[in-house]
């Protein structure tokens, strides 16, 4: 199980790194919002993998909270872009 943890951990870390590079390199606000949305998804995946590896549901509530906050943030940024442009 620790090998599985390493493999998925490395893949998720790589995904987070690539997404961060995309956020930094993107030229407009919409692309950045997409990248941050994707970054939140990577964080949610990492938390779920951590729960599965440790068999401890201490951070299970964080999945709920971060998911809800990410939704509110994305919608807010989207409204902002709609009104103000990229």
């Amino acid at each position: 199980m620790s090998l599985v943890g390493w493999v998925s951990g490395v893949m998720l870390a790589l995904a987070g790194l690539l997404t961060t590079v995309h956020v930094i390199r993107s030229r407009n606000l919409a692309d950045r919002a997409i990248g941050v949305d994707m970054l939140i998804a990577v964080v949610l995946n990492s938390l779920a993998v951590a729960i599965a590896l440790t068999q401890d549901d201490l951070v299970a509530a964080l999945l709920l909270i971060i998911g809800l906050l990410a939704f509110l943030g994305s919608v807010t940024i989207a409204r902002y872009i709609e009104e103000r442009g990229p």
Binding site: L12, A15, A48, D57, S74
Partner: protein, 135 residues
């Protein structure tokens, strides 16, 4: 039995992580914002289902299972709405697709709304035509 569950959880974990990695690569491969939204929404639902499914299989007891399934349900409700809003915002901000539009119903609806005048607007007044208020 326990081994079977563990192997299943391992497969789900690897699948979810691989999906996230593929989506991150897709952010670079895709030509425009709309395809990037399409790519970035996949790990928010499918990969989360995979990894949270692994967590549900590994953690015993009803309370963690309830919390985790609630998180998945919330993700399924919110992720499509969020990406839809981002797509609308990208359209309203005037981002062009990689190829010319085949159908642009949102633009047509905006123009129709503009022609019918501000009096016929919806009460929330969100009818600013895209890219013409000169940000």
């Amino acid at each position: 039995m326990n081994t079977v569950v563990d192997v299943l959880a391992a497969v789900l974990m690897i699948t979810g992580s691989a999906l996230a990695l593929i989506a991150a690569v897709g952010l670079f491969r895709m030509p425009d914002a709309y395809s990037r939204i399409h790519v970035a929404t996949k790990p928010a639902t499918l990969a989360v289902v995979c990894t949270v499914g692994a967590a549900v299989l590994r953690v015993p007891g009803p309370a963690p299972t309830t919390k985790l399934l609630l998180a998945v349900a919330l993700q399924f409700w919110t992720a499509p709405v969020a990406s839809h809003m981002l797509g609308r915002a990208a359209h309203a901000a005037g981002l062009s697709p990689g190829e010319p539009w085949v159908v642009d119903d949102l633009r047509a609806a905006d123009e129709e709304l503009e022609q019918s005048g501000p009096d016929a607007d919806s009460p929330d007044g969100d009818t600013t035509p895209p890219g013409r208020d000169g940000t």
